[in-house]
């Protein structure tokens, strides 16, 4: 084999070799950096700024908003009507109940139950059950909204038809029990995530742990309580934080109830939409946004600190 003469052409010097030089790295980061700065980071600061103004969608204050200090916050937290329907306090409490009932109880428990069940049942039952649970989760939210709209229809809906078939009285649930409708709806919509997270957690437990328990004569409940549960504790915490954040921010129930009837399903996200885009009070809407983001921030910090601890 021959060696080519070493060319003496001047070569660009590398100060400190890396697969991607700092210059190229910065260039590679620029497009994403710009997009994220403008559409994620800027809104965060802008919303704080707008919340101190009386900006509106139309009219004089649309162009020349005035600085109003904490007036928007005082309006939100006005003790005179804080707890009244259609006011911020009512919405915040409603959202808290919604998160507790549909995420922490509904999705997490149902997800856990499903994850445990599908481990032991015959594959075909597992596949069918999984298919529907996951379908509820991946289908576009508008389609789901419409499906439930049809499902709950007072006169023809599948639910009332079923109730009639077993001899129960029909109901107009969207009018009578709107809160419980969106709780069940959100549980149904989101259980798939918890199920998938927990079932991947369960399947990462070495089967020998369970076999050892089988040999010792443990019941299914004992195996779940003494082996499964303790070993996926980390996943449970992750799951609870994530589904809490998503449920807190979800806008999907709007597609089913529009926030009504008479504000009875007006979650903070829907309240925020109404104040800003129906009442056109951007300043007040921004103040709602700030409070939502502060709550998100608290959860995110907890989540990230747990993630960091795990890495160490």
């Amino acid at each position: 084999m021959t060696t080519e003469p070493h060319s003496d052409a001047p070569k660009r010097k590398v100060k400190n070799f890396a697969l991607l030089s700092n210059r190229a790295g910065a260039a590679f980061l620029t497009p994403a950096g710009l997009l994220v700065s403008i559409f994620v980071i800027a809104p965060f600061f802008w919303v704080i700024f707008v919340s101190f103004t009386n900006r509106t969608l139309l009219g004089r204050t649309a162009l020349n908003p005035e600085f109003v200090g904490l007036a928007n916050y005082f309006a939100l937290f006005d003790p005179a009507n804080f707890f009244q329907r259609g006011q911020f306090g009512f919405s915040l409490i409603l959202t808290t109940q919604f998160v507790l009932a549909s995420a922490l109880l509904g999705q997490a428990l149902l997800g856990l139950l499903l994850a445990w069940l599908i481990q032991t049942v015959p594959p075909w039952i597992k596949r069918i059950t999984e298919t529907f649970v996951i379908a509820a989760w991946i289908l576009p939210e508008v389609v789901i909204g419409f499906a439930w709209f049809a499902f709950l229809d007072r006169d023809q809906g599948t639910l009332n038809a079923l109730l009639g078939a077993v001899g129960l009285p029909p109901g107009d649930f969207l009018l009578q029990q709107p809160f419980w409708v969106i709780v069940v709806f959100n549980t149904w919509r989101g259980a798939a995530f918890s199920m998938m997270l927990f079932s991947s957690a369960f399947s990462s437990i070495p089967p020998s742990y369970f076999q050892a328990a089988d040999v010792a004569g443990a019941s299914s409940w004992q195996k779940f309580k003494d082996i499964g549960l303790p070993l996926i504790r980390g996943h449970i915490v992750t799951d609870l934080i994530l589904i809490t954040m998503w449920t807190f921010n979800t806008f999907t129930p709007f597609l089913l109830t529009n926030g009504g009837p008479s504000y009875r399903t007006e979650l903070v996200s829907i309240y925020n939409y109404r104040v800003a885009f129906n009442d056109f009070q951007f300043g007040k809407g921004a103040a709602v946004g700030v409070i939502m983001m502060l709550i998100n921030l608290a959860f995110a910090l907890v989540y990230l600190s747990i993630g960091r601890k795990k890495k160490r």
């Binding site: 070493h6 590398v14 100060k15």
Partner: protein, 367 residues
């Protein structure tokens, strides 16, 4: 082909020095093995030759030219990676010919050359397979082919055989040996396997904690290990090391240790210098230089039998000196020994190695 030289090269990661002030040179056509335990800085050194790490201090020269700050692509080198780094989306022909592609060669030249090299390495019939469709040994040869397909100044190998099973490894080692003698390539070869280094190298650089402890031919490394570290790393099983207490008088050196009986050795100036700092020395004897003796003759080590492992042509007899460690002998007879029985292992004085209290070799008279 070209020479390679390190001039006072240091590589730090944060405050940790992976390579500390290393200088050595590799002549044109030499096959040098970097040998040492895991984490001693072999790969880092090799990657500095390749340009994949930039030294913190010092210079790297290839063919007499300072390439310290050259991009890897400008160094005209070849490298075989431990994990082979075969591109999973290209078939073997494209994998092997990739270096020619980036050199702007025509498709026909690329494929012709890839076939030539592949035929030499006996993978010519696999050229349209994907890397995932061939065996580990064939993958190893493919990565070798990719390194050989273009002319290089230096060939770099990072533990290229460590992912092969024992039998394939021996076969590949033999092939590499043949190739090197055939091509006369300049090569730097990283391994933690002393047998591999002994078999392949024209010179071995033994590394420990970021430094080169000894840089010499395999035979010299074996015969005259520079430190207890080298002595303990090279040879299978490695050299027995026995801590001894030394005293001298009348021009002779007396060594004492439990179970050791040794005739006085001639005293030299170097030994005197070593004893000036400490009277503790280390005596080394290779297992193959020990044999079983009867009674308590001079130049013996006596202790209770710990294990007797039959290896076929030879057996490894290990005796246990309690707190003072174990001593192993390679014995070519098959004596029937009882566990716990007292065994006497004899050696001749010319096979004794001495190290000072810091572990450095004390040269024998005439060395």
């Amino acid at each position: 082909m070209a020479s390679v030289e390190f001039r006072s090269v240091t590589k730090s990661f944060g405050s940790f020095n992976a390579v500390s002030d290393v200088s050595f040179s590799i002549g044109d056509g030499e096959f040098v093995c970097l040998l040492g335990p895991s984490g001693c800085g072999k790969t880092t050194s090799l990657r500095m030759i390749a340009g994949l790490e930039t030294p913190t201090l010092g210079q790297v020269l290839i063919g007499g030219q300072d390439v310290t700050h050259y991009h890897p692509k400008d160094r005209q080198i070849s490298m075989v990676f431990q994990d082979y780094a075969l591109y999973p989306h290209m078939n073997l022909a494209d994998n092997i010919a990739y270096p020619l592609k980036v050199r702007g060669k025509s498709v026909s030249e690329r494929h012709g050359r890839a076939r030539e090299v592949a035929d030499v390495l006996k993978i010519g019939h696999l050229l349209d397979r994907l890397p995932s469709q061939i065996s580990g040994g064939q993958q190893q040869r493919t990565s070798l082919a990719r390194a050989l397909v273009y002319p290089s100044q230096v060939y770099l190998f990072d533990e290229p055989l460590s992912n092969l099973d024992a039998k394939l490894r021996l076969e590949a080692r033999g092939f590499l040996n043949h190739l090197q003698r055939d091509m006369g390539m300049t090569a730097v070869y990283v391994t933690h396997d002393q047998a591999e280094a002994m078999a392949l190298a024209t010179r071995i650089a033994v590394m420990d904690q970021g430094r080169i402890v000894q840089y010499a031919s395999p035979i010299e490394i074996y015969r005259l290990p520079a430190t207890t570290f080298v002595a303990n790393f090279v040879g299978n099983p490695p050299m027995n090391l026995v801590e001894v207490e030394a005293s001298h008088g009348n021009g002779s050196l007396q060594l004492r240790a439990d179970g050791l009986s040794i005739a006085p050795l001639p005293m030299t100036d170097v030994i005197g210098k070593a004893l000036a700092t400490s009277s503790k020395l280390t005596l080394g004897v290779r297992p193959e230089h020990l044999h079983i003796a009867q009674g308590s003759a001079p130049n013996t080590i006596t202790a209770a039998l710990f294990a007797n492992e039959n290896m076929g042509p030879e057996s490894l007899v290990t005796v246990d000196r309690a707190d003072a460690g174990r001593v192993t002998a390679r014995i070519f007879t098959d004596d029937h020994l009882q566990l716990g029985e007292t065994v006497t292992l004899a050696f001749s004085p010319e096979h004794v190695h001495l190290f000072n209290s810091k572990g450095d070799r004390i040269p024998a008279a005439g060395e």
